[in-house]
Amino acid sequence: MSAIAEFPSAAHLTPSSDGDSQLLEVSMGPQHPSTHGVFRMDVVLDGETVVKLKPIFGYLHRNHEKIAEDETYLGSMPYTDRLDYFCSLTNNWAYALAVETLAGVQVPERAQYLRVITAELTRLQNHASLIGFLMQDMGASGTPLMYAFREREKILDLFEALTGARMMCNYMRFGGCRVDLPAGWLEQAKQVVAAFPRFLDQYESLLAGNEILMARTQGVGVLSRELAINAGITGPVLRACGVNYDLRKVDKYGIYDRFNFRIPLGDHGDVYDRYMIRVLEMRESIKILEQAMRDLPEGPITDPKTKVRNFRPKPGEAYGRIEAPKGELGFYLISDGTPNPYRYRVRPPSLINLTVLEDMCLGRNIADVVIILGSIDIVMGEVDR
């Protein structure tokens, strides 16, 4: 049984030309406003229908992995912020988790809770802004995106108060977190989280039943369950196809087994489901946040036995992965006993989720390509690394 036979790559398809039509090759991007960063697609069109689509990467490539080989383990931590620059805290966590797996470092209770709180806040602001961007791509210029950014800014204020930076947080350390909560932070965070469902209700009443949104997203960019699994799609895009695979439940990394939350699943695998999944995931994140902030224990925030200077894990390798807002973010590290990793690999969910972009776009109109791309949720800092 071969995956190519089951899911033929679109490269082999030829357009059903009736003789008098002419194929048109369009280069979408890298300056195109809908391509979410410097990203380019070579699209071949038959009229308005997409018959071939090849993504072209590399405009932001700086060989992060090579740079990390010359850095100490901790030295790469600020650099992970720049991968998916919307979600620096989950990037930090994934990297810290991989190093902790490699070196066998324990994380104290309070730090585990702080990680969950910051990661779920990250998920909230990522999903909120993604929905705003998606609306922007559909032509709802400005208003929905600015509504989302207004809420995002409240969360970024929390990040700034805690870590000193809105986006480049550089907050996690091996065996804990960098700083403890400042005075009054928890109360402010509770207020932000308590106010968030109201924003979601408002947003949903504005959008969920919106006729234009439904017409442009339902049945568009359908991805089958089987192809999604086979192509390694993760995160909300996978769950929109109805596959119950969320690393917070599967791996139960950190302390996610202590919280009561559900995994929303879609059943059509279209753009609308991907949109709805994100709305529902935000509601679940709020549940996790409420529980985590209620139960947050006192105590140390770092493991005192973990060396900060001259940190040298024993030789070996480890793969650590978390459920980042965009999908499975993994770090694969090989240690040779020196202070620098011998090999440092980022498994970027944005890049791998793009594998099926062509499959979803074939046969659709060029205008749908923009929405389908937007619904995958990519950040080029992570795709190109």
Binding site: H12, F57, L102, L227, N230, I233, G316, Y319, R345, I352
Partner: protein, 203 residues
């Protein structure tokens, strides 16, 4: 993390003639891996994906590693200092490709497969596993791009991140970056040294 010994025996029983070797992982992650031979790689992968009690339907991560000879001796803790690599060094040593497999259906894993090329110069062919998992599409292209492993059977093996005209493989340990970029005006340390060499010895 499951122990790999039973799985090894099972694969050997189901894929006749395959040569497997368990690579132990001494670190506290204990993620041991299995070295498979290139000729039977597709058969082993097909078995792992298809067997009803394994169902490794999800290939999460694919990456390359460069092991210039005699790299394995480096595990003692010395810094890698040899910058000078010769053609013989490229002929010895090997490139390695690692696949992390999980099962979405049965929610277990990872099983880690490794494959090795015969050397680092010309015999760098490995079979592509894209016929089993589509998820390796871009990742194998990236390994080809950055390490120079050629995946036989990949339908679209082009450079992924570097531009098409680029000739070297930047993730190799002995890669020397070309001296053709603009230097920052306030160079210091290593960059300053290179700036001075670039400008003909004086700065």
């Amino acid at each position: 993390m499951m122990t790999l010994e039973p799985l090894k025996l099972e694969i050997e029983a189901n894929v006749p003639g395959c040569r497997l070797e368990i690579i132990p992982n001494p670190s506290s992650s204990a993620q041991h891996s299995m070295l498979i031979d290139a000729e039977h790689a597709v058969a082993v992968a097909t078995f792992l994906r298809g067997a009803p009690h394994h169902r490794f339907d999800y290939c999460s991560n694919v990456t390359g590693i460069d092991w210039p000879a005699p790299s394995k001796a480096k595990e003692t803790g010395d810094a890698l200092e040899e910058d000078v690599e010769s053609a013989e060094a490229a002929a010895t040593g090997y490139l390695e490709v690692v696949y992390h497999l999980y099962s979405m259906e049965l929610k277990h894993g990872p099983v880690i497969l490794r494959m090795r090329t015969q050397d680092r110069a010309t015999r760098v062919h490995l079979p592509s596993l894209i016929s089993i998992w589509r998820s390796v599409d871009f990742q194998e292209r990236e390994v080809f791009d950055l390490f120079g492993v050629i995946f036989d059977g990949h339908p679209d093996l082009r450079r992924l991140l570097m531009w098409d005209e680029f000739t070297d493989f930047p993730m190799r340990r002995d890669y020397v970056e070309p001296d053709d970029y603009e230097y920052e005006p306030t160079a210091h340390d290593k960059v300053l040294l290179k700036t001075m060499q670039h400008q003909g010895g004086t700065a």
